[in-house]
Amino acid sequence: MVAPPDNDVLWARSLHYSPHGSPALDGVSLGVREGEILAVQGPRGCGKTTLLRCLSGQLVPERGEIWFAGAEVHTLSARRREQLRRDRFGWIDPAGALVPELTVWENAALPLLLRGTPHRAALAAATDWLERLDVGPCARQRPGALSPAQRQRVAAARALISVPTVVFADEPTATLHRAEGAQMLRTLTTAARSHRITVILATHQPEVAAVADRTIELLDGRRVGSGQLGDETEEGRDACSLSV
């Protein structure tokens, strides 16, 4: 077993995942540095969401390794992976995935409440983040009353509020118009850079991937045509996956 490079906060090696016979991930390797914004680009069905779910511990790959902050993720129990998601990761869903019966305020505060932060402190932090993402005025509304753009911003506030180490954004602008999407991305990246939060951004749009520091491309579950920054070129790597 090869220990991952020290400067990578998240590191994966030849991930394989084929849930129903067809390979969703076929030997994908990648490393993400701390504070970096990495775009995972590819058409629909190329395995972006599966890759993000594997990296965030929601799915366990059939083969391959995932290391986070110097510790293995793929061997952890389901309970420990839940804890990891709660304490260190944030997640932005394509459609927001807000809890419909909670107000916007409580939705944003939910990660802190789940960690055991007192109610008052969690709501104060939520107010702060909602203001920063320009959705402060709708704090007392239900998600059903918001526009898709506002909903996505609330989802971003919820992902950022606990100042996680890594935020996984799965097609965060997929349901938004261009201008709204661009603004949402700008706020997300600004907040991430100011707090040194690593962002992994899955998208099928090149203009979205352009805001990232680095882009890797997926096609049919494999990495293709990536930039040659080259610090991982040892043998034993799956032949299909090209190095970063």
């Binding site: 990891l84 998601r85 995935a97 807000l98 419909p100 909670l102 409580e106 789940l114 239900r142 059903g144």
Partner: protein
């Protein structure tokens, strides 16, 4: 044929629920036929036959209520984006649900007729030594039997058609998550029935107490005042059913009061959101439980079974249908919350937290509705036993 494929291709649990509707319809049909048999056997005593026929109304209502709950919870009749795209939208699916309910109830009624005729030994009633409910030795009036048997299919299908009448949107993963579920409870307004329900309940209890004061005996022993007592009971039951959603909403509000932690917050808000769905069956179950308690107190000691075997069959049907309705509503609630559960698990909420929230919800409902049931039963019985 396509509809049949849709319907038969579902989960065994769903098929079981539909089978239970058939069984309930069979029970109601048998009960109605027994009332008819009694009337045929005693043509000179309409005053004894009428209570038997009226008694059938309660199981019929319970069975119709159950049929509506099953139709609403049926995954086949729920609007789906895929079927909507090929032109099988909310309207056609509601029609399908109505037709299917009518079919289930008709099958149940036909089974009831077959069982009844088998027990009698044919339409002419040749079975010797049969109970008076089977009208031995007399010809069963077939048009009357068919009319009675058509009651439940008609009532249930109309109820299903009315309850599915409001246009429902296909609730896909994203739609439901965004709060666009079929129930219009997104804005968090409480259900409006609570004051009306409390008023009805109070009026029912008062009516019972008033008629008891004038010297009536509990039904059906005293013919004069029993109508007032019965009306009081029905009013109280209606009040509980109307107040159910509002009460459930209030429970949720209490549960998330103060500065709640995640478990209390999720449990309370979930209850407030689902109050419309679970409140009505819960209120009905509460009414049935209160009536059972009251009846056990009033008649249990004397052992008086006034209507013969029909009492047990009817009461059993009402209790079983109410319990099944409540269970169906609970399962539907669980299904409606699947997307929320996924979203919470994505955030890293533990399964234990979600289980705690569900347990809290059940506990607070029990803590409010159980004493209420007991109080209503005690207040109903009090003026009659004093």
């Amino acid at each position: 044929m396509f509809a049949l494929r849709l319907i038969l291709g579902t989960h065994p649990l769903v098929l079981l629920r539909r089978l239970l509707v058939v069984v309930a319809a069979t029970g109601v049909g048998l009960l109605l036929l027994c009332a008819l048999g009694y009337a045929v056997a005693h043509p000179g005593r309409p005053s004894a036959s009428l209570p038997r026929l009226l008694w059938c109304a309660l199981p019929l209502a319970a069975a119709a209520h159950f049929a509506v709950a099953v139709a609403r919870a049926d995954p086949v009749t729920r609007p789906r984006a895929g079927l909507s795209a090929v032109g099988l939208g909310s309207g056609r699916l509601s029609g399908l649900a109505t037709a299917w309910t009518a079919f289930c109830c008709t099958v149940g009624s036909a089974l009831a007729l077959l069982v009844y005729l088998q027990l009698r030994g044919g339409p002419a009633g040749r079975a010797a030594g049969a109970s008076e409910l089977l009208a031995p030795g007399r010809q069963l009036p077939l048009p009357a039997a068919l009319t009675l048997l058509a009651l439940l299919p008609a009532v249930a299908s109309v109820a299903v058609a009315v309850s599915l009448r409001s246009p429902r949107r296909p609730a896909g993963r994203s739609g439901a998550r965004a709060g666009g579920t079929e129930e219009a409870a997104d804005d968090g307004t409480p259900p409006a029935g609570l004051p009306w329900g409390v008023a009805l309940l109070g009026a029912g209890l008062a009516a019972g107490a008033y008629t008891a004061r004038t010297g009536a005996a509990p039904p059906p022993a005293g013919p004069a005042g029993s109508l007032g007592v019965l009306a009081g009971w029905l009013l109280s039951a209606a009040g509980l059913a109307v107040a159910g959603p509002g009460l459930a909403h209030l429970c949720g509000r209490l549960l998330q009061a103060g500065s709640p932690g995640p478990a209390r917050l999720l449990a309370g808000r979930g209850l407030m959101e689902q109050a419309r769905r679970v409140g009505r069956p819960l209120g009905v179950a509460c009414a049935v439980a209160a009536a059972t308690l009251a009846a056990a107190t009033l008649y249990g000691s004397s052992g008086a079974v006034s209507l013969g075997p029909m009492t047990g069959l009817g009461a059993g049907l009402v209790v079983a249908c109410t319990a099944a309705t409540l269970l169906t509503a609970a399962l539907e609630t669980r299904r409606a919350r699947l997307d929320t559960r996924d979203a919470l698990l994505e955030l890293g909420a533990t399964a234990a937290l979600l289980r705690t929230a569900v347990a809290l919800r059940a506990l607070v409902l029990l803590a409010v509705f159980a004493p209420l049931t007991w109080a209503v039963a005690a207040l109903t019985v009090l003026p009659l036993t004093r």
